[in-house]
Amino acid sequence: MPNKMRGRLLAAGSAILVVAALLVYANVSTAAAATSDPVVVVGGDVACSPTDTNYNGGNGVPSYCHSKVTSGLISQINPSNLLMVGDGQYNSGSLSDYQNSYGTTWGQHKAKTNPAVGNHDYGTSGAGGYYSYFGNAASTQQSGCVKACLGYYSFDVGAWHLVNINSECSRFNGGAGCAVGSPQQMWLDKDLAAHSNACTIVFDHRPRWSSNSFASADIAPLVDVMYKYHVDLLLSGHSHAYERFAPQNPSGGSDLNNGIRQFVVGTGGAFFTGFSTIVSTSQVHKSNIFGVLKLTLHSNSYDWSFVADSSTPYNDSGTGSCH
């Protein structure tokens, strides 16, 4: 083979090798980015009181008191954050029950927990059990507050901005805690205006939409603000079932381009509630299940996957884009 030809072949071969190496590098880099994206777990309505007839030494019985099992699911997933969407401790959220029941199950993940206050927490005056148990994690704006705290706060996880709102609206600000012009509504507006992250989550206890009697009208003014700032996901509990909605506008109409997708994940272990008339925008609804929602937060999208208690097998997974 002439030297000229050999040189050309060598050059072509080298070029192919370089391109192949670059392609491999790109793939590896993408995979590394994907696997390093943060994972958060969502769930609420969690632990029975030790005095509950179905508590059974913390092991529960079929259909009741499964917080030990759902806590095990969280351990397996090992998320960066656990968004506990309210009513962590039944029936009245007392501090001793939080310590003796929730504390022995989901409490294992307390250091990575971002909690939301629920209606049952106010079974103890000023939700004092909840605020005492979670401390500053539940009242980041009022360090040291242990009773009747504001309960709303925000933080970032990876590229995402996360906001917790207090959906027990009749419990503060003279009974108008979520109304237009209320301090919480104005704070939410200011917080979302100040964070231009491509992707945003709001989580709370009460769902705005639910295919039963558990939808909250009280939080409607806050949902108006969320929509204004293009919030991507609203994560709630309160209804003890799993429900996934299509992206919606504040009126509950389907809005695939700018709507808020709501997940209801009140399946943390306490007990089941059911469905009634199914809302037209409900894409998936499943009762009689326990489990948690796993969310992988990419820079401009998210993957969801419901991880079920093995006694109530169920799957729901998919991917969504931020707007």
Binding site: H120, Y122, G123, G174, G175, A179, A215, T273, S276, T312
Partner: protein
């Protein structure tokens, strides 16, 4: 004993044994049946809450505006926040009855006090209005929790 009677007896015994066998297999293979979801499933109650969301939202918004107004000292007059609250309380009271007798007093708890506060505010008595609005909020918050507890109870167990 006639032979055909014996045959019938044997046939009946075989059939019975088969039935018992099949029943045993089916019973042992069947998964545990979860309790029927009967909580939160009353369509009439769901529809009542859905159909009266606007009244509840307006009551909250008017209450927030009134709280601001009486906090600054009442300035009564047409179109003010307290007149808006008065109208909102009447609209909320007009939503009754609910499909469940137990819910009736709970869904309007505190509204009477809010109405009194709105009237006092419109009359220029800011101090009395503040007291009434606070009393309304104090009555409504625990009633909301009671509403939740009613909704979490098996439907047929609550009138």
């Amino acid at each position: 004993m006639p032979r055909h009677t014996l045959h019938r007896g044997a046939l009946a015994a075989v059939l019975l044994a088969l039935l018992v066998g099949v029943w045993t297999v089916v019973a042992s293979a069947a998964p545990p049946i979860p309790p029927k979801p009967i909580v939160g499933t009353n369509p009439a109650v769901q529809a009542w809450f859905k159909n009266h969301e606007a009244q509840r939202i307006e009551l909250n918004d008017a209450l927030a505006a009134s709280l601001k107004q009486v906090g600054q000292g009442a300035t009564p007059g047409p179109g003010d926040a307290c007149a808006r609250l008065l109208k909102a309380t009447d609209a909320m009271l007009a939503t009754l009855p609910t499909p469940k007798q137990t819910l009736n007093p709970l869904v309007v708890a505190g509204v009477g006090q809010f109405k009194a506060g709105a009237q006092q505010c419109s009359a220029g008595n800011a101090a009395a209005a503040r007291k009434s609005l606070a009393a309304g909020a104090a009555a409504r918050a625990p009633a909301d929790l009671q509403v939740d507890e009613v909704l979490e109870m098996p439907d047929g167990s609550v009138p």
